[in-house]
């Protein structure tokens, strides 16, 4: 029933677009959601955080610089084909056309990358998608800040080094990667292989097929090989099963690190107390003790306009959606500033992304002081700061806590890999590297 209500609310919020009631120029922002299917438990909180933040801007500020945002949801079910269909159906939506796409799927992102430059619509694959899209000279239409999977992998290696007593202590250690057997899950492998060469640890990669409901063989191999640390690049049910399996074989949770997509409340709650101490990457704070969250409650939930449940505001994936919406709206604001008009199109928003700077002062103005890292995007660097911290699950308190500072990635590893991969993409797709001077 609550879902039905949410759907009606979402429909009502998008009604002005459909009915054409609003005469002012509207900023069309399609949302590629997945509220159904096996990955829905993760897709829903992200979509709620993303939508709530933008709806809050509409309710509180009348949109961005007075131009209302029109959210147009499209259900992908985390299915690449459906995601591409959504893109094709929505790219020319409304007067503005789609201003930006947030695919929330590495598979969909890979398919949209070549289309984006033709249609002149930026793709914001926040912390996922093709890592080498960090190279803005080759991928002018794709942005993957605030950090890539490769940066994150090197941060995990540094964290492990620190916990072991220094990077030199990594020599002879064994690190396993349990990964979703998909384009997404395979992303960090090359980076970790390079890191293994550099620091002398043994690296083993263990794939888990979609959806990951059954992983016994994988964890038996971990029992046999006894790696010192395990990393996980999982999504959906794979995360929950992996954490339970790890607990079952008595693998120490504080030596088990998940990618930031393997570190939500959904992932740890089914394992109960056994998940205590489990680590994951993070680039924003958990919780709802921020001005933006209070505004969302005041302007949306108090009026019955919220997309989700009030008590789930501030969950990790909700905040992930929120931070994505915040950066996106700031890029649109920047685009308006650069081009001196509220009637921006996708190509203008791309310029906004490329000149985006959200520093600590701006975060404070947005009611998100200390919520995430400051970012600055440039023509060359679409990854931004690349900094990643680690968060840890406290099962007793039932919450995530950031337990490390933000680490700088090992750019001596990621830099050449990004250059190599983007050059290969440019060669294969006849893309001429642009100048950023």
């Amino acid at each position: 029933m609550r879902k039905l209500t949410r759907t009606i609310v979402a429909a009502l919020l998008t009604l002005p677009l459909i009915s054409g009631v609003a005469s002012a120029y509207e900023l069309v922002m399609p949302t590629l959601d997945y509220r159904t299917g096996p990955y829905a438990p993760n897709g829903i909180p992200f979509a709620n955080g993303y939508g709530d933040y933008l709806n809050m801007l509409n309710e509180r500020d009348g949109g961005i610089n007075g131009a209302r945002i029109s959210l147009v949801p499209c259900e992908t079910g985390y299915n690449t084909k459906k995601g591409v269909e959504c893109y094709e159906n929505l790219k020319a939506e409304g007067q503005s056309g789609a201003l930006v796409f947030q695919p929330l799927s590495t598979g969909i992102t890979y398919q949209l990358i070549p289309k984006a430059s033709v249609d002149e619509i930026p793709i914001f694959s926040m912390g996922y998608g093709r890592t080498s899209a960090a190279n803005g000279k080759v991928f002018p239409w794709v942005f993957n800040f605030p950090a890539t999977y490769w940066s994150q992998a090197t941060v995990f290696v540094q964290y492990i080094g620190q916990e072991e007593g220094g990077m030199d202590k990594l020599k002879g250690k064994k690190i396993a990667l349990v990964y979703h057997n998909s384009a997404y899950g395979k992303e960090p492998i090359r980076t970790l292989e390079k890191a293994a060469e550099k620091f002398g640890f043994e690296f083993m990669a263990l794939p888990v097929d979609h959806p990951g409901q059954e992983q016994k063989a994988t964890w038996l191999q971990i029992r046999r090989e006894k790696p010192d640390w395990v990393m996980m690049w999982g999504w959906g049910v794979m995360n929950q099963v992996a954490i339970k399996e790890a607990a079952s074989i008595r693998y120490p949770m504080d030596r088990f690190i998940g990618v930031w997509w393997s570190g939500s409340e959904n992932d740890v709650l089914p394992a109960g107390d056994a998940a205590d101490g489990y680590l994951s990457g993070a680039f924003h704070q958990p919780g709802d003790d921020f001005g933006a969250h209070r505004d969302i409650k005041k302007h949306l939930y108090d009026k019955g306009l919220g997309l989700g449940e009030r008590d789930r505001i501030g969950e990790v994936l909700y905040n992930r959606g929120l931070v994505a919406a915040m950066w996106t709206s700031e890029a649109i604001r920047k685009a308006m500033e650069i081009h001196g008009t509220n009637e921006v199109r996708g190509k203008h928003v791309r310029d906004g992304f490329e000149a985006l700077e959200v520093n600590e002062a701006r975060l404070k103005e947005l009611g998100l002081e200390g919520f995430t890292i400051p970012i600055k995007i440039t023509c060359e660097n679409h990854e931004g700061p690349g900094q990643v911290a680690l968060q840890q699950w406290d099962a007793k308190a039932g919450k995530w806590n950031l337990v490390s500072d933000f680490y700088e990635p090992l750019r001596d590893i990621t830099g050449p890999l990004i250059a190599e991969d983007s050059a290969q993409y440019a060669a294969e797709n006849s893309v001429t590297e642009r100048s950023c001077n």
Partner: protein, 298 residues
Amino acid sequence: MTFFIEVVLSGLMAGVMYSLVALGFVLIFKASGIFNFAQGVMALFAALTLVGLMEKFGFPIWLAIIGTIAVMIALAWLIERVMLRHLVNQEPIILFMATIGLAYVLEGMGDILWGSDVKVLDLGIPQGASDWMLDSFDIYIEKLEVFAAVTAAILVAFLAVFFQKTRIGRALRAVADDHQAALSVGISLHTIWVIVWSVAGIVALVAGIMWGSKSGVQFSLSLIALKALPVLILGGFTSVPGAIIGGMIIGVGEKVAEVYVGPFVGGAIENWFAYMLALVFLLFRPQGLFGEKIIERV
């Protein structure tokens, strides 16, 4: 050697989990010749209902289980009234397609009624590794899977008695053998269908409980049906013991393959290996290990 034993035992236990899903397919196919594509979704729907009754309505476990059984029986009645009744004498492929539609309807209903979040299912079933096996023999056995194996054994015994010793069971077998002949001696096809779908619903609930306890109740549960398919191919679509034995063979086969062959070919082979194993069996026994050999005379 200990590790090999561990792999085999884990395979056997995982196989039993697959068998629990396969059993539901067998029951319906045996009695009506319908390959029920919705069986995985039925397991999901049953588990969602169980958790929903406990979480949203505060039912104690026993009452929630009874309530869910009642819902699954009502669902069986509804399926018969709305879907099957109108498809009597249709080609098997038509019935199969109808069950595909049913899967979507049930998935949507589950979503609307109970939401899409991951739900923790805690019925007090023991979970985690058996400490005794781990400490005494250094062998990792999941307590939940041992529990599932015992449950499966009880379920099979119950089904055997039900099919062999009860009037309804005999009627079910009669319908399975020959619809027309069964009708001619006064057995109501509609009633039999309601009963068999109800039993399949209860089996789905058991499967949903076991898999839901393992990973939390969530929509990916519907995909466990994919794990049951090779079991059915191998064990035969009409044999209850075949579902159990087939599950164990598939479970052991895929685990041994993944652990010992996987590392040489990039890993993640267990899913397709299960199908390959089933296909190899098909070459020699197209009806599966325990399936009925159909001889058609022209």
